[in-house]
Symmetry: C3
Subunit: 475 residues, 3 copies
Amino acid sequence: MTDRYFASDPAQRRIARDIYRAIAALPIVSPHGHIDPRLLADPAATFGSPAELFVMRDHYVLRLLHAQGIPYESLGIPPRQGAVRRGAETETDHRRVWQLFADHQHLLRATPTAAWLAMELADVFGIAESLASANAQAVYDEIEARLATPAFRPRALFERFGIETLCTTDDAADPLEPHRAIRASGWPGDVRPTLRADGLVNLLDPGWRGHLEALGASVGRDIASTSDLLAAVDDRRAYFKAHGAVAIDLGVETAYTGSLEPAEADAILARALRGEASPDDARRFAGHLIIELARMSVDDGLVMQLHVGSLRDHDSALLERFGPDLGADIPVATEFTRNLRPLLEQFGNDPRLRLILFTLDETTYARELAPLAGYYHAVRIGPPWWFFDGLNGISRYLDAVVEIAGLANLAGFNDDARAFCSIPARHELWRRASANWLAGLVTRAIVDEPAAFETAADLAAGLARRTYRLDREGQ
Amino acid sequence: MTDRYFASDPAQRRIARDIYRAIAALPIVSPHGHIDPRLLADPAATFGSPAELFVMRDHYVLRLLHAQGIPYESLGIPPRQGAVRRGAETETDHRRVWQLFADHQHLLRATPTAAWLAMELADVFGIAESLASANAQAVYDEIEARLATPAFRPRALFERFGIETLCTTDDAADPLEPHRAIRASGWPGDVRPTLRADGLVNLLDPGWRGHLEALGASVGRDIASTSDLLAAVDDRRAYFKAHGAVAIDLGVETAYTGSLEPAEADAILARALRGEASPDDARRFAGHLIIELARMSVDDGLVMQLHVGSLRDHDSALLERFGPDLGADIPVATEFTRNLRPLLEQFGNDPRLRLILFTLDETTYARELAPLAGYYHAVRIGPPWWFFDGLNGISRYLDAVVEIAGLANLAGFNDDARAFCSIPARHELWRRASANWLAGLVTRAIVDEPAAFETAADLAAGLARRTYRLDREGQ
Amino acid sequence: MTDRYFASDPAQRRIARDIYRAIAALPIVSPHGHIDPRLLADPAATFGSPAELFVMRDHYVLRLLHAQGIPYESLGIPPRQGAVRRGAETETDHRRVWQLFADHQHLLRATPTAAWLAMELADVFGIAESLASANAQAVYDEIEARLATPAFRPRALFERFGIETLCTTDDAADPLEPHRAIRASGWPGDVRPTLRADGLVNLLDPGWRGHLEALGASVGRDIASTSDLLAAVDDRRAYFKAHGAVAIDLGVETAYTGSLEPAEADAILARALRGEASPDDARRFAGHLIIELARMSVDDGLVMQLHVGSLRDHDSALLERFGPDLGADIPVATEFTRNLRPLLEQFGNDPRLRLILFTLDETTYARELAPLAGYYHAVRIGPPWWFFDGLNGISRYLDAVVEIAGLANLAGFNDDARAFCSIPARHELWRRASANWLAGLVTRAIVDEPAAFETAADLAAGLARRTYRLDREGQ
């Protein structure tokens, strides 16, 4: 296990092992992810059952079981209130959900999910055996017992994992109560909110009006025009920043940007408020808002993250019955060069802007993202995202971008975790993969060993810290 | 030769060799290909000359020779009747075609075609020497002599190759006489037809009307409406199924799907019958038919194969002079996420549907196919198709899809062969490539050896058997 | 250093080393690049300062420093006359530019630029140390001293580098004075012009009218119609050919081709002359001209190079302030299959045409370029271009295209250099990368050693020589 992920070639493996050893214990910098801050707000919070922790909240797992015909209900996922009953009853016995999971471990074979699970069981829970049908209940017992101890409360694990900074992702209108509670509690864990603007930017999102109203409520003003909207977002950015935020996040289907005249923007907003916005309206309004969000980042210094190219809720029946984020978001081909030009021509070389681009279309790594990041001062390339967070995904990423953009224009690693206990496993996989990749450069005399060690530490933590300007923040 | 295709690293090679040894002799499951069933219908059928067997019927070979300026005529390909004579006379001396082939072996260097040829000569014909100018006629003699023996009749080779099941590809209107003859003969070889619907789906195909008329004739009814057309296809599906078919196949330039109102579909069909269909008509009609074919698969359980993204007959002069399938089909960029959504929202999670997606656009492996197959119950990812059936093509495929979709959502291997004697070579290449790929997982501790052996057998035969529901069929 | 770029595996490394040793000293064939012919026209020409040689004229370096916030002015790049002053003064002390470059070597880590620099310092200038902050001025001294000696004049280096042929890239209207001077001087170096037609083909290029007028002046006729334009280009082709040209070059954003009726072409030209051409006009006019340029190549035998997919001057503020070719050209997704069909149907199998396709979209390697080159007689695949000239870029290229198109349909290597001293380094990187790639084929028994040695020599020089028909030229 100590050589997991390292090349078989003895020379490369030896160097990979040395490099990894030097970075394995570095603090975890986690500037982007989806951990629920309530876990850390209440010192007595717990993770729920093993099934909740490892199965029911992990869309990576759910989708792969579903693809082989296992219904969400059997995995303990309840239909939304009011959804028509079809097929199976929702399983409420978490031990049976766990057993089903154990019975289907082969479906995860050779995926990063399997790797994370093995690492979590071994390193977090001290369970050396692989999960299988036969030991499922015994493993459940062990995990459950450990979860009941104070050492397995979220704050305790936060400390044990060596997390230096953890940024959550929060709705723009969120009052950030958990974050306030964390700060008020005196607990020294560095947990920061991130303002997510998706709900406001996409006029065709069924929840758009709700997001808009929540935003209005959060600033105590009605939103009747684009300037109202932008002013409200600006207020919320200040609020988030006052609560420690270093970044905003935006998820969009395309990277289209383009400024609108105020009257045009207002006309579109008016149509949207009447429920009459067209797809073209939505595209142009989003393109306008992205530029305005960048303009605000120039002013307030919040790092801007752009996650592009996920077609959310591909299976609308799933959305209707069970809700979002259950494994049915599918990538689409993505274009950055032409789409981002209006934004980049305006702000791309402004040292106050930091724009991190995430893609689900690997063809853009070398063709678009690396050339853009290798020229524009503001641009950084986000780490391999979502479907690409396995060993091959990471290797392809490094192979594709570094020759073109160098290493300094990478954003470092984000774990993007929803499952708290997977955080160290995800960082370990990244660190092992990058150590191995660097060892390959050393054996081929592309970089020397000192440079490889320095780079490994940068990839593990330094780049993320600097990209998100956490090095400028009081810790 | 025993280590062909295995990594040079000794640890990986040793494991690859062990894995390969365990799967090398597994039966050949060939659920998709283009073997002419007449070869197996007549116990006395023969393969023709060595030139026919290895050159004149293999578009992989023809195109590479043509690209360096060798005319099709010199390779024994006769112009279509009525085609204007240009340049060379058609070579009728197969020994001269063979010599030309031997003289240009360097043009095949490092391609899978060269690998298959070497394996066929060595393993099927017992000729250890490499083909070259000097030995061309001697090799021709040896092959010709062997082909004249009963041991080299198609049925004998079928048995020697260890073919468990062979599915052919047949026009929807085909009376399946050869298949009837095979079954009637008492010979136990498991040969099954596959209904191919391409000719009916593409309104702009110059042969469309001919296909439609043939379909009408095959069911004894005129086809005047879309419902006539669908009813006729449904009849033919039943006929194919009664003759052992487990699947249908459809080749389309784009994966667009979308249902039409019956009146709309009929209006398009009427325009097509008047020769007035527009490209948009053709696209929408095909999109409608794909959904209807899926609906029928839900009903009758025939596995649905979708081969997407070949722009057929790129060089229309070649088509006109010599006909189709001679090496001038060129891939185009392909989109699945948005295009298949209407179909998948309707049937994607129906356990009765099995939809295998084949692509000529490798960018869709990780971006679209693996995420779709990793969620939708009906979807399986077809093996690397056509231009991608070499060692690198296979490695890229496995590297790209498995981390995202796991192994259970792959369709296993299809040889897609037109040349009967290349079948074992194509399976050997796939098995060696996958053994080597799995060995790489073992050396890096991503899977353990037992899992690797189990997976190797699945990739070699099990997945194909289960994907095409051959495990449910009486053998 | 002797094993730089070779795989760590001892068996592969040993073979890679043997192969490389056999090709390292082959002559350099450089059929495409951007060397200024004036360097070779004047026997006393010099390269300027070390900063000019390594930094100020190399957009690979400039962009990576700029991306980390170093202004072009600090790198000695003067704003265009009349450009508004912003920020820093232009640095005129080349030693300070050099120091800045030395201080930021880590920004180049793991890029091909770093590799070329190391090779140039070591092999051209005999400086074994790596450049760093501490030795920057001492290294400057050494380079400056060497540059002052006759052995470091361009012609002397041309001979020392073993350049067999060097093709430059010249405006269609260029009188080719330096080329005439080289020929007149009696110096035997084989330096040839290449006619570049970009400026004439793109109606929306701000310099289009200037290029058109220069073309008219160069042939002594007004250009008032498309036939005038084509006749003028044809005259210039003859002039270039008489001065040794073997090729033309064309850089376009898309590969769209399509013939226009003469009246249509003239109407577009008239709109362009009135400054009223639309983007669609520009696209169609370019598509027409590409076909006409191919038709001329059929007639005069000049090899046609098509460089597709660079969106030039993405940052228009940079263009305005400093000019083109400074690192802000960004690739876009590219399509060849449909776009080139009209051209290829007309001339794709004409043995008189040789069409080399270069792409900045790696997805087209296996999907479009290799299938096209593997069928059409005229088509060759250009080597990895620009952003893809590093070790990974080269490996991906060979892995993607050779299985599909074989080796004979590759164009061999182009260094595409702007920096004269980087020529041998670029060839060395390519030769090492291809030696290593071939060694990988040998260890896996895909090709045998003799074939690998033969292929290595072809990739190093033979293919380029034959592709550009230099083997038919008197040297």
